[in-house]
């Protein structure tokens, strides 16, 4: 009985890091991340994994019925001995995403793309902004 309980309470130490700082640091029961080869779910005692992530949503189950959902860009995840490190360019908790603002950002990025013309730098920047905005909206829609 006591061993069973301790197994159930085994948790993952998760860090979600971006160049601008840590977005999430804490203990969770499960991590679901969008790997390039499909969604990948991590539970305690998972074998060591290093995975490439595509833009999408990363789900952190803190307790049953209490999820933290993050809109994440492309990045990397490494799992070892119940420690999960997720490295992404940007991560935004879904409840902090303001739908209207995300839509405005998307519209603005599209305008920038249209205005960019031959400027490669501006085009790249605008495209990246569009992808981010679209991903954000998708995450909101799925959880809305």
């Amino acid at each position: 009985m006591s061993t069973a309980t301790s197994t159930d309470e085994r948790q993952l130490a998760v860090k979600v890091l971006t160049p601008e700082g840590a977005v999430f640091e804490g203990r969770v029961r499960m991590v679901v991340a969008p790997s390039v080869e499909g969604e990948i779910g991590i539970l305690p005692r998972h074998m060591p994994v290093v995975a490439l992530l595509r833009p999408g949503e990363t789900r952190l189950r803190i307790t049953d019925g209490d999820d933290v959902v993050l809109a994440t860009t492309a990045g990397y995840m490494s799992v070892e001995f119940d420690t999960v490190v997720i490295l992404v360019e940007q991560a935004e908790p879904y409840h902090q995403i303001d739908r209207a603002r995300a839509e405005a950002a998307l519209a603005r990025a599209r305008e920038e793309l249209a205005a960019a013309g031959d400027d490669d730098e501006a085009t790249d920047r605008a495209k990246a902004a569009i992808h981010r905005a679209e991903n954000r909206l998708k995450v909101v829609d799925r959880n809305g």
């Binding site: 860090k15 890091l17 060591p48 994994v49 290093v50 990397y76 490494s78 490295l87």
Partner: protein
């Protein structure tokens, strides 16, 4: 001897200048603090990135096949990225970078590169390099005091593309490293091809803490998705982004620190100057009063 009026005007003007330098000092302090926080914020990400890359590289074994790491012969064309500020009034901050960038270019030429081209980041560096008749292939500007990761990515993309297209054969990054508030050091580091030892990391420490932390050991058995070599190929551009981003942040912090020091010295000098001028003015006033008394006395004497 300047009149009282002249001295008074100078005091007013110096006071005005010292107000400006004092304000710039305060602004630089505030920006410096923010830049320092951002360097701190990047540290865990950069560390995680290095560990991941070292793990993938060790598993992949042979990394020489990766285009971004392939060593090329010392001929052809080298590029020097000089990271300066967009604005002056920061002491020797911009000059130091340009000086080391030119020295680095000479060194590359001595090693056998036929041609050295500059990529300027920051308004000041680009201007100076062009003025000295150097070839500047691109001039990034507008973000020196508060660079974002996206800015770094644009630069990384530019230099990597040129390197992969064979237009450059080596890329060196020159920037001000932020050592402390009072000390900045200009450093030059090879960016491309990505040095092998940077990718592999220190193998010894990783194995030493394998028992406690397990980073070295576990990645030897880790499941890579996709394969280590493929993952490494994807990681390298991110590593270059991160390296440039760090250089931009360090440079921003160093710029604010240099400006703060320069402005603090300027304010102190202005204060000293005001004190000297006030003394001179009081002397001039005394002299004028003495003169008047003498004239009055002489006038009274003449009447009697």
């Amino acid at each position: 001897m300047p009149s009282q009026q002249d001295i008074k005007q100078r005091i007013v003007s110096v006071t005005g200048t010292s107000k400006i330098t004092r304000a710039m000092e305060l602004v630089a302090s505030a920006k410096l603090r923010r830049a320092q926080l951002r360097i701190e914020a990047l540290r865990p990400y950069a560390k995680g990135m290095s560990e991941l890359m070292a793990g993938a590289a060790r598993r992949a074994g042979n990394v020489s096949g990766l285009p971004l790491m392939a060593e090329r012969e010392e001929r052809g064309r080298a590029a020097v990225i000089a990271v300066t500020g967009d604005r002056g009034l920061a002491g020797a901050f911009n000059v130091n970078v340009v000086r080391l960038a030119l020295a680095a270019a000479d060194e590359l030429a001595a090693e056998g590169f036929e041609d050295v081209v500059f990529t300027a980041v920051g308004k000041k560096g680009g201007g100076t390099l062009r003025f000295r008749g150097r070839e500047v292939d691109h001039h990034f500007q507008g973000f020196s005091s508060d660079p974002s990761y996206a800015d770094a990515h644009v630069i990384a993309d530019f230099v990597s593309t040129r390197f992969l297209d064979g237009e450059t054969d080596r890329v060196v990054l020159v920037y001000n490293e932020f050592k402390s508030v009072v000390e900045q050091r200009v450093v030059s580091q090879q960016l491309l091809p990505v040095p092998r030892d940077l990718v592999m990391g220190d193998e010894e420490p990783a194995e030493a803490d394998a028992e406690t932390e397990g980073s070295g050991l576990s990645q030897a058995i880790a499941d890579f998705e996709p394969e280590p070599a493929v993952l490494l190929e994807r990681l390298l551009p991110t590593f270059i982004d991160t390296t440039i981003y760090r250089a931009l942040l360090e440079s921003a912090a160093a710029e604010h620190a240099a400006r703060r020091t320069a402005m603090s010295n300027a304010s102190d000098n202005a204060e000293q100057l005001i004190a000297d001028l006030t003394l001179a003015m009081n002397r001039a006033r005394q002299a004028a009063i003495t003169q008047e008394i003498l004239e009055v006395v002489a006038g009274a004497d003449a009447l009697t």
